[in-house]
Amino acid sequence: MKINMKSLYASIAVAATLIAATVATSACMWFIYQPEEPKSLQDN
């Protein structure tokens, strides 16, 4: 079965965006490394 790469990329993008949004509503990431938060997710 041939994998539709566009659908795969879109699925990864949706999952990663959901996780990023979850982290954005938290104080920090679950473990003790915190990369720089993207500007579009920062609260001003």
């Binding site: 999952a15 965006t17 104080a27 920090c28 679950w30 003790i32 915190q34 609260d43």
Partner: protein
């Protein structure tokens, strides 16, 4: 790991014609996913091998769920975070198991439980949330929400601890799980204080020196 997340996000952004903002969000989400999966797998696997699976799981999830809302000191790289978190989770799991073997008195156990949650509530009121330069929390309403959510998690942990205390009987596992949960709360709340922050930052610097001596590198330098 950050490099991998960066490469995947750039590939996805180019294939789906996303702009820079969307690519950065995907990269950030992927780093969070990779870090969480790696940490949970390493801690649980080591816990399984060392015969402290339940204790390691309690510490790993106990600290990380609380940390999500309360914030705290941070390591400078994923490598340093992985090493430090693994040492702490496994060390605390062993400590909980060992303490379960030596604490025989219900009064001592109950006193430790009460003091732990009193300490936690004081820290939540005084310090939470503790943000970091990489993720500043400026909004007053968000700070209030995080404080309330941390308090909800603390109350949930208190109920779980009370449940474990009352069902413990002769179950060593219940007592060690209870002690591991209390250690998780003390540690996570401790990292929100000055000495806790100093301890994490000092350990992070030490691990960074060891990593760079062995020819590794800091993710922040790339």
């Amino acid at each position: 790991m950050e490099k991998l997340a960066n490469k995947i996000s750039i590939k996805i952004a180019s294939e789906l014609s996303y702009d820079k903002d969307k690519q950065e969000v995907i990269e950030y989400g992927l780093i969070a996913l990779f870090q969480t999966v790696l940490m949970v797998m390493v801690v649980l696997l080591l816990g399984l091998i060392l015969g402290i699976f339940v204790e390691a799981a309690v510490v790993c999830f106990g600290v990380s769920i609380l940390r999500k809302y309360s914030g705290g000191a941070h390591a400078s790289s994923i490598a340093s975070c992985t090493i430090l978190s693994t040492i702490l989770c496994i060390g605390f799991a062993f400590l909980g198991k060992w303490l379960a073997g030596i604490i025989q008195s219900d009064a001592i156990l109950l006193t430790v439980l009460v003091l732990t949650f009193m300490f936690a509530i004081v820290i939540v009121i005084m310090k939470v949330p503790v943000d970091s330069p990489n993720k500043p929390i400026k909004s007053v309403s968000k700070r209030r929400k995080l404080k309330i959510r941390t308090l909800i998690v603390i109350i949930f942990y208190l109920l779980v601890s009370a449940g474990l205390f009352f069902v413990r009987g002769n179950l060593d596992l219940a007592i060690s799980a209870l002690l591991c949960l209390l250690i998780s709360v003390i540690w996570q709340m401790g990292t929100l204080t000055g000495p806790g922050r100093f301890l994490i930052e000092g350990s992070d610097r030490l691990i960074y020196r060891i990593i760079t001596m062995k020819g590794g590198h800091n993710n922040n330098e790339n």
